[in-house]
Point group: C2
Chain length 198, copies 2
Amino acid sequence: MEYYSKQISRLISELSTLPGIGAKSAQRLAFHILNMPTEEVQNLAGAMVDARQNVHYCKHCFSLTDDEVCPICSNPNRNKKVIMVVESTRDLAAYEKTGKYEGVYHVLHGAISPLQGIGPTDIKLKELMQRLQEDVDEVIIATNSSLEGETTAMYISKLIKPTGIKVSRIASGVPVGGDLEYIDEVTLLRALEGRTEL
Amino acid sequence: MEYYSKQISRLISELSTLPGIGAKSAQRLAFHILNMPTEEVQNLAGAMVDARQNVHYCKHCFSLTDDEVCPICSNPNRNKKVIMVVESTRDLAAYEKTGKYEGVYHVLHGAISPLQGIGPTDIKLKELMQRLQEDVDEVIIATNSSLEGETTAMYISKLIKPTGIKVSRIASGVPVGGDLEYIDEVTLLRALEGRTEL
């Protein structure tokens, strides 16, 4: 793209590395940024760098947060005896949007996937088992209903069963192959209400 | 979005101000950024700020560039006597992709639009007229074939005619590969009016 000067080309190529941003969108975004007030560009750039540098895992549930303990784990009104296991912080956010779940979470940061070489030690499973040594009534497994999510759910339920803690799986009101992040609140609630013991 | 910590919420809301980025995409981008290596995030953020701070108008053609004179105006092989007038630097890039145009450009940064309150003095028209005091053979008007683009083309041609410089307008008609069946009546009429003898 020699018809753009160096810095515009660099901006376009940096933007096109983002997911879902192709060459055309990157070009469109780049020219939008070039026309934004300098201060707004600095805010946007600053938000990226700050978030990346300061956000880390909550020491209890491993969701992404910039506090030592995330807002959910530090909320005294949440029931610490019920833990919902999700694959990602985005899935956690999807359940939080329902506004009805009062327990806490555990974010695995992935799912077991032999094809992609992701095993039980590559996700936050050991950390989940450690949490179960405290007083826990129920573990609700809310991994995606994909092959990897189901495999992970089965694996976790087999690990937890011997401890005597109740293990449940959200109902398959979630469409097979669906991604929690994109599912409407009503379906998510149905799935929660219809959870079955494993 | 209180279930995200402050910096994640800030990043998502900053990203969602970009064109074509809705709430879901902003969330997806934010989590992608949080999982990128810190160095890459800094590169991306740096590219934005650098481009915004250093990119300005080429002093000849008003395209966006980080040099004093853009790569096209400073290229000795380009014919400075032929000027193509476009609405935006993106339109310039579209013509550059053809690789066949050997003249230079003039970027208006907009089009005359009484409805949006954009008049002749709000675009780089005075600057175009100043360039015509030098040795220019032809002005090719390549504004969009929208109402605003056509109005602007008419206005410019009336301004330039008295100077004796040749003024032309890019043809409008059926796009190459286009199916007549799906093309609007106005375009079909234009194509008929602009027919050339074989």
